[in-house]
Point group: C2
Chain length 168, copies 2
DNA sequence: ATAAATTTTCAATGTTTTTTGAAACTTCGG
DNA sequence: CCGAAGTTTCAAAAAACATTGAAAATTTAT
């Protein structure tokens, strides 16, 4: 397979993959493009490569920066801004986990805390089932939260090593 | 908080949560409703409770059945079909992991295998960066694949215990 | 300070996804 | 076999989400 085809396939599949995980296609594609680009790119490079508008490009680059997956790079003597993606995949995963934990898991755990305190007779099957469901989700969620915290702090080598040992 | 409010809040938030993870709102809401219902429900119960149409209800129940999260329950002497969700949250997570692995991770790994075999001079920075990116994603993906396989086979108690030990 | 270059914003538009509801189909009791 | 009850399908409508592009804002060089 030729590089050009391979690059296109990667970008397009990475985009489709993103949509299954609640990430918009363009954002995932820009990320893919930057991941496989040896040097930083400008907004115009990205627009041209992916055939998308200036506005769209701009918004999604900013979103990637918010997620901590892309950095602005200043090239001395150049007026334009350049962008580059973190290439270390372990750091990428860590960063995504960190953000999703903060944006989704933590608010969900707060909600569950509130819901667990529902009024009512514990002998009522509706109340009983509700409380049991909420409690068990909360329990699992808290466990996940702790596990992810440790993972975020961990080094890749340590993590992979530990996993290999753990899951023989 | 009253049970009715708590139920509504849970259903609505669980639905919103789903949309951040590539799961459609209604599917997540039906799942939430069944999780907190002590007894199996009919299609009509669900339609009424969530204020959704018959077609929508039917499609999403079937999808939940495909995912292995909901079962048809036959009640002797009743003509209608009843539905109930698996209540053991560990089993729910295991089942979701299993399906997403099959539907998403495995096809992605196959793609990466093909892309890694790109033609071209490894000294060309474009080729070099492409191959390195693909390889490192593949490596992480394969690791995840193995880890998830083990997790799927594991018992909750074993898993939680192992994690606690692992992440002190 | 000016103006050219660049970036950002956002209302309008386009696209994709979800939902509806009525018709077609299936199942089952008599 | 018939008809009522129940389930499924799917084209059309609605809603949600993404994209465009041109105008406004900002930045920088002179």
């Amino acid at each position: 397979m030729k590089l050009t085809d391979a690059r296109h396939q990667f970008i397009s599949n990475w985009g489709a993959f993103g949509t299954h995980w609640g990430i918009n296609r363009t954002m995932a594609q820009i990320h893919a493009l930057l991941l496989i680009s040896p040097d930083p790119l400008t907004q115009d490079d990205i627009m041209e490569e992916l055939n998308i508008s200036r506005g769209n490009t701009n918004m999604n680059i900013r979103e990637l920066i918010n997620w901590g997956l892309v950095d602005r790079v200043l090239i001395p003597g150049e007026r334009k801004e350049y962008f580059s993606a973190e290439k270390d995949i372990w750091k990428v995963v860590t960063q995504i986990v960190k953000e999703r934990k903060k944006r989704e898991l933590e608010p969900m755990l707060q909600l569950l805390d509130r819901l667990e305190a529902v009024e009512g007779d514990k002998k009522d099957p509706q109340v009983k089932t509700f409380v049991e469901t909420i409690s068990s989700i909360k329990k699992l969620g808290k466990q996940a939260d702790r596990t992810l915290d440790t993972m975020i702090k961990a080094e890749e080598s340590w993590f992979v090593g530990a996993l290999l040992k753990m899951f023989k």
